[in-house]
């Protein structure tokens, strides 16, 4: 009798496990990267945007002591939520701090969009289930050293111990670069916050990461003067929001929100004047961008199938234009004037060989 009860229990357990496996599997099967998705509809049905963000990087995506997440990338999550859901607070910030699992989160539909200082590369586009929208931040890979180290470029780094975040383009760039210049180095790899801590403890001679990343980590330290970032940049790192492959509607929406915020800065629409601009647009382009009629005419039907024409207006209302986002979150910690992230239209005043490349595509 006892034995029978036991075997019944076992059957029950196995059956339950199998059901769970099949049920979970069903979800994943639907969301396989190869099938076309409709994330806009998913987000609307859910009533919340799942934004994969970094929580360990000051200025870009950082979890404060009180649990709120703040930073440059976070503002774009809010902008998308405002545009799609008409409420910039309807965001669930999913922790994507671990570089090595961030694309899995996207592929498995744990997140709708990945805004986490992620570089666009051809291999990621090809091999992973990710598609990239417009670049939000242009940077390049740089090196931080102690001010008194006597290191002024990578040619001084023979046999140096270099702290590098694993699972990133950074890691490959540094391997390629040291092969090119024919020097040896000794890597210490790990999560970005861990390798930064090891560097500041003196475990490594050099910390390498995106120059913006280095600047953000050094800027928040009391002993910031003890460290310097070398002027040498060894790579292009355009950081962009990532969306799932084969979902062009969603990619379009995210893409044009970024372009819209940049365009807003170019033509002087701000968080403060967006309401006034919307009620009385000075020209047809402002009217189109904000999705309002110009001088009593028709609204240009530039919304996408799944979002109404005012989506960019709401994004600007929620977080301001690109320049306002930059000033509010990054500010002077990483100077913007005449660097890659400045607007192209501001370049006339820059020294030779310098200037921005932020340029919004025409909204028409």
């Amino acid at each position: 009798m006892k034995r029978m009860r036991f075997s019944l229990l076992a059957i029950g357990l196995v059956a339950m496990l199998a059901l769970v496996a099949v049920a979970c599997g069903g979800d994943n099967g639907d969301g396989d990267g190869a099938s076309a998705g409709n994330t806009v509809q998913t987000v609307k049905d859910r009533g919340e945007l799942k934004c994969g963000v970094k929580q360990t990087q000051p200025l870009f995506g950082f979890r404060e002591a009180d649990g709120t997440v703040v930073g440059f990338d976070i503002e774009f999550c809010k902008a998308i939520a405002a545009a799609v859901l008409k409420d910039h607070t309807k965001v669930e910030y999913v922790d994507a701090s671990d570089a090595s699992t961030r694309f899995e989160l996207l592929a498995e539909e744990e997140i709708d969009v990945l805004i986490r200082t992620t570089t666009i590369t051809a291999s990621r586009d090809r091999e992973l289930a990710v598609d990239f929208a417009q670049t939000t931040f242009f940077t390049g890979q740089g090196f931080a050293v102690r001010t008194d180290s006597g290191i002024n470029s990578t040619s001084d780094m023979g046999d140096a111990i270099i702290c590098v975040q694993t699972g990133t383009t950074t890691e490959q760039n540094v391997a390629d670069h040291f092969t090119d210049i024919g020097l040896e180095y000794d890597p210490q790899g790990g999560l970005s916050a861990d390798v930064a801590a090891a560097f500041f403890d003196g475990r490594c001679d050099v910390l390498t990461a995106d120059a913006s990343d280095l600047a953000s980590r050094i800027a928040v330290r009391d002993d910031a003067a003890d460290y310097k970032i070398l002027p040498q940049i060894i790579s292009k790192e355009p950081l962009a929001p990532g969306v799932r492959d084969y979902d062009s509607e969603w990619k379009d929406v995210v893409n044009w929100i970024v372009h819209g915020l940049i365009r807003a800065e170019e033509i002087g629409i701000t968080q403060a004047n967006v309401d006034q601009m919307a009620s009385n647009p000075p020209n047809t382009e402002v009217a189109r961008l904000l999705g309002v009629p110009f001088q009593g005419g028709e609204v240009a039907a530039l919304g996408f199938d799944s979002v109404d024409p005012q989506f960019i207006q709401r994004a600007i209302k929620a977080v301001g234009n690109y320049g306002e986002i930059y000033d509010r979150t990054i500010g002077d910690n990483i100077p913007r004037a005449c660097t890659l992230n400045d607007l192209v239209i501001n370049n006339s005043g820059c020294p030779d060989g310098q200037g921005g490349i932020q340029y919004a595509l025409p909204y028409r």
């Binding site: 570089a99 040896e184 790990g190």
Partner: protein, 400 residues
């Protein structure tokens, strides 16, 4: 009435169909098979969609891993598989050292817990309770933090006579390397010396056994251990010089801000091994104590009665018998060391799990990579079990 053994009782006709044993068995097995088929079928179809395969491991790695020892792989021309094997080697190294250290420490602490000296016993108990009751992850990270923050910067390195250095870049010690010696011999000469050493070790073992037998037969002291040791030491010295000193010590040096030459124990390795050792030795100590206490009290009383010293009592009477109890449990602890070595992830040590993560991040194929990781850990575990089963068989085969 005698029923022949093994013959089944006559099938009772009044039992309902569902309650018949044969039907029951058929039914349960049918359900198991059906469920297994559904699960395997589902997994198979989903893998099919994801282009399951291991070809990505042959592509160039384009990354370099740290904590390399006795290997030097730059990752530019090597495949992802090669880099993974470098990670496996790093894991193995940490596991082997941790197993050796935790065994020695565990036996010492376990015996100390039973010491008649009150202070020693209490210290041992304190050790066990502290390290058994705190998480291993905390211990590993704590040791790492102490090594990084507590040890001096490389600029203020702690230097003992220019051959031993401590900084938060690690501990550098002299290390033997092959040397051409005064005959100008080629590098492989060192292996000749190693072979000669092994010969002398075997000879010493033989002498030891002979003298032990003599001691047993005659009752006169024959100093087996001392003779064996002396033979080995003399043999090693003579052959070393006869072969022209094929080994020299490589002294560590500091150039700029990094060590060269010598052997560098990096803080990541030290932290991982120290954490694993502290934690596991506490468990092994308890196993050793339990194994000893499981022996009848008469064993140690008898050993005392025939006049054995405390050390002899332990090594000749108590431990050989206790080993029967101890080895199976200790094997479990060794397997735990293997599995827990993946906590290297917390201290920047490039073990197999981290390297696998890097590969996965570059190539996708998470499922395949986890398959490789699991198989690797299982193979290491099987190897440990095999060795321990061999020891166990030898211990239990011995008549006591």
């Amino acid at each position: 009435m005698a029923v022949a053994a093994g013959s089944a009782p006559p099938p009772p006709s009044n039992v309902p169909l569902l309650y018949r044993r044969g039907v029951r068995r058929l039914l349960t097995q049918g359900i198991y098979v059906a469920i297994t088929a559904v699960v395997i079928g589902y997994i198979y179809t989903s893998l099919d969609l994801r282009e399951f395969g291991f070809g990505f491991l042959d592509e160039p790695a384009a990354f370099k891993v740290g904590n390399q020892w006795l290997v030097d792989v730059d990752g530019v021309t090597n495949s992802r598989l090669t880099m993974y094997l470098v990670g496996v080697w790093s894991s193995l190294r940490a596991v082997m050292v941790a197993i050796a250290l935790s065994t020695v420490l565990g036996v010492l602490i376990g015996v100390a817990r039973l010491s008649s000296n009150w202070l020693v016993a209490q210290m041992a108990m304190l050790y066990v309770e502290i390290f058994r009751n705190t998480p291993l992850l905390v211990q590993v990270v704590l040791v790492y933090t102490v090594l990084l923050v507590g040890a001096p910067l490389i600029e203020n390195v702690f230097n003992v006579g220019d051959f031993f250095f401590v900084s938060n870049r690690g501990m550098a010690i002299p290390w033997p390397v092959p040397d051409s010696g005064f005959w100008g011999a080629p590098e492989w000469f060192v292996w000749v010396w190693v072979a000669v050493l092994l010969l002398f070790a075997a000879a010493a073992q033989r002498v030891r056994a002979n003298r032990q037998e003599l001691e047993r037969d005659t009752g006169q002291p024959h100093y087996a251990n001392r003779w064996a040791l002396a033979l080995f030491a003399v043999g090693a010295l003579v052959s070393f010089f006869a072969l022209g000193a094929p080994v020299s010590m490589d002294l560590p040096m500091i150039v700029g801000t990094h060590y060269i030459e010598g052997m560098v124990m990096e803080p990541e390795f030290t932290a991982l091994v120290a954490g694993l050792t502290l934690y596991t030795s506490a468990f092994i100590a308890e196993i050793v104590r339990g194994g000893i206490q499981a022996l009848p009290k008469g064993q140690s009383e008898a050993a005392n009665a025939v006049g054995l010293s405390g050390y002899q009592r332990l090594t000749l009477v108590i431990l050989p018998q206790a080993l029967r109890q101890i080895i199976p449990s200790v094997t479990n602890q060794y397997l735990n060391i293997n599995k827990n070595s993946s906590l290297a992830y917390a201290v920047l040590y490039d073990d197999l799990f981290r390297v696998a993560n890097i590969v996965q991040n570059k190539a996708g194929h998470a499922l395949e990579m986890f398959f490789v990781i699991i198989v690797t850990y299982m193979l290491i575990s099987f190897a440990i079990s095999m060795v321990m089963n061999f020891f166990n068989a030898r211990v239990t085969a011995q008549r006591i």
